[in-house]
């Protein structure tokens, strides 16, 4: 059928109640889920899906099916629809386009009326739009690429408990990225040994140390033991440097009650920050966000588990969508990729994630994977965290890619330093301050970055050692999740 014929048939049935509601099975596009003339409202939630229909399934029908299965539809006609203002409740697929350079894949734009979603609930939002529909048989694969959350819905969320501006004020750290490190080895250190690593890193010049995502309360280190030794190290380092210091104490646990108990203890000991893992789930994240707001605490989110559904381009949920949800749910830090480190992420795509965390208003930006304008309605900003396989020798690239509002986390790149943890911290802090100073002085840090670092290393042995050890370490593998739109060079 031609597009015109599909449209004529869909309109004929949708507009005719007797045909629409006679018992039996209709195509989704005939049930009102395909409305190419629909003008999305400012209050609609808009989603862009990448759909890969099964062979022989028309892309328009597939898009209508996604709209149907993520809102009101079931597989057959039900008369009880007629008891409701059912047209409001139907999601509407309003545009379908082939994905450039990807045969068999289509972008489908779908609009959802605001009445579909409970205020302030990520769980409810996601139960609809990434619910049953992702297992729907007529599709080979389905991916939620981007989402536009209307201001009316944004305002029902409290967002980050602290936000990156207030976090900086509390920490008294401005005008440069923050520095962190994840304690290594991840597993096996006793509380006492663990605290040693924290103390050395913070005294050496880092702002934060971090528990790893799988450090909870295992046989080798009970959580209370970790918290007690860590906070001794944090306070000792604060006195030794005259700076506010912190360690993300991971309070992830089996139940909410356990998490609250751990978080309360962290507060009692004077920690400025607690941490949770994405795997605790959206509802637990929103609960911990409320707890953090009540207790003046920065809330750090490690995105453990996200790679299972964000990485493959044809199926799952893009991380930019997860980042948007987490800003609404209310976390202060989120791991958002490094582009240059050991974990997945091409630079433009990763910048897209950073932008949705930090923008006041995110503009459509196809090369960065941003398909919608998003007004954040003054919602606080999330501090993105770059962590995983980065080192001092990449400082110019990191500063150029991500700017000042980011936490750069050098775990191996601090603790693996040949002269020890303090020396590793010094190398990173000197590299960072040197690069910020050079950038502010107008130097071209992208091209002169290595020279600038080497010059600074002449009077800083730890930096020289770091550059020597890690100079050849790069992770140049093809990204699986890249933009579908090439960057068009500016015509100046």
């Amino acid at each position: 059928m031609s597009a015109t014929e599909i449209h004529a048939e869909a309109t004929d049935i949708t507009a005719n109640a007797r045909k629409r509601y006679s018992a039996g099975v209709l195509k989704y596009r005939q049930m009102g889920y395909w409305q190419p003339e629909y003008e999305p409202k400012d209050t609609d939630v808009l989603c862009l899906f990448r759909i890969s229909p099964q062979d022989g399934v028309d892309p328009v029908e597939a898009a209508a099916a996604v709209a149907g299965e993520s809102s009101t539809a079931t597989w057959t006609v039900v008369w009880t629809d007629r008891l409701t203002a059912c047209d409001s409740y139907r999601a509407k697929a309003y545009k379908v386009e082939p994905v450039p350079g990807a045969p068999g894949q289509f972008f489908a734009w779908i609009a959802y009326d605001l009445i579909l979603f409970e205020e302030g609930s990520i769980a409810n939002l996601t139960a609809s739009i990434i619910g049953n529909v992702f297992g729907f048989k007529p599709l080979k694969a389905l991916r939620l690429e981007d989402i536009r959350i209307p201001v009316a819905y944004v305002k029902t969320f409290k967002g980050p408990p602290t936000g990156l501006i207030v976090e900086r004020e509390r920490l008294d750290k401005f005008g440069r990225p923050l520095l962190g490190a994840t304690t290594k080895p991840k597993l096996g250190l006793s509380g006492r040994n663990y605290g040693r690593v924290i103390y050395e890193g913070l005294k050496g010049g880092l702002d934060f140390m971090k528990d790893d995502e799988n450090i909870n309360s295992q046989p080798f280190m009970h959580w209370r033991d970790r918290f007690l030794y860590v906070m001794d190290a944090v306070n000792k380092a604060s006195a030794a440097t005259g700076e506010v210091k912190g360690c993300y104490l991971n309070v992830t646990a089996a139940t909410m009650e356990d998490m609250y108990e751990r978080a309360d203890f962290a507060r009692e000991l004077g920690s400025v920050v607690v941490m949770i893992d994405l795997v605790v789930g959206y509802t637990a994240i929103q609960s911990m966000s409320n707890w953090a707001r009540r207790n003046d605490m920065v809330l750090h989110l490690h995105r453990a588990g996200h790679g299972t559904y964000t990485r493959q381009k044809t199926h799952g949920v893009s991380f930019r969508v997860i980042a948007k949800w987490m800003r609404l749910a209310g976390v202060d830090h989120i791991h958002a990729g490094t582009a240059v480190g050991k974990l997945e992420g091409d630079p433009l795509t990763v910048q897209g994630y950073y932008n949705v965390c930090r923008d006041s208003y995110t503009r459509t930006d196809l090369p960065r994977g941003i398909f919608f304008d998003q007004d954040w309605a003054d919602l606080k900003k999330v501090m993105p965290v770059a962590s995983g396989g980065i080192h001092a020798g990449q400082m110019h690239q990191l500063l150029d890619l991500f700017g000042d509002d980011v936490i750069l986390q050098f775990g191996g790149g601090t603790i693996g330093h040949p002269a020890g943890i303090q020396a590793g911290a010094v190398a990173n802090r000197v590299a960072l301050e040197t690069m910020v100073k050079a950038r502010n002085e107008g130097r071209d840090i992208v091209n002169e970055g290595l020279d600038i670092l080497q010059q600074a290393a002449k009077s800083c042995t730890p930096l020289k050692q770091a550059l020597d050890v890690w100079k050849d370490v790069t992770f140049n593998y093809a990204s699986t999740d890249t933009s579908d739109f090439a960057v068009t060079p500016d015509v100046a």
């Binding site: 010049g205 906070m231 000792k236 006195a239």
Partner: protein, 144 residues
């Protein structure tokens, strides 16, 4: 003498680098001016990590858009308080920022004794911590 790697208080953007000379300070001021920030000079002899409110050496210079003029204020402050900590602070009044955008120390006392950590044993193994300045027991103005 503080025992951290640089032997001094490490607040601000550039504490791990050699002290900035006046030309380098001017370059940072100019960067801030180009971004639309307003500069302010603040001083204290109580550099406790949680002492947020240093004394203002005059109002923030909202209307002074000349790096040389701002450096002159820094030098006036240095003359008045040669043994105090002095910092340059840049404010960004953009909606949704409305906070400090840059902050670095431009003057320090020669001798920085730093801070001690007081531990108060509490319930069980709990500990209450206080960061105490070694110079802080003396009255204001006589600490360094």
């Amino acid at each position: 003498m503080m025992t951290n790697p640089v032997g001094r208080i490490t607040q601000g953007q550039f504490s791990f680098l050699p002290d900035l000379n006046d030309a380098e300070i001017s370059a940072q001021i100019q960067y801030g001016l180009d971004k639309g920030y307003s500069w302010s000079v603040e001083y204290t002899d109580d550099p406790h990590p949680r002492n947020t409110f240093w004394e203002m050496f005059g109002m923030p210079m909202f209307d002074l858009r000349d790096a040389a003029g701002i450096l002159m204020e820094v030098n006036n402050c240095r003359k008045t308080f040669p043994r105090h900590y002095i910092r340059l602070v840049a404010f960004d009044a953009t909606r949704s920022i409305e906070s400090i955008a840059m902050n670095f120390i431009v003057n320090r006392p020669e001798n920085e004794p730093g801070f001690g950590l007081l531990r108060q044993e509490s319930d069980g193994r709990n500990m209450r911590y206080t960061v105490r300045s070694y110079a802080g027991d003396k009255p204001e103005g006589e600490r360094y």
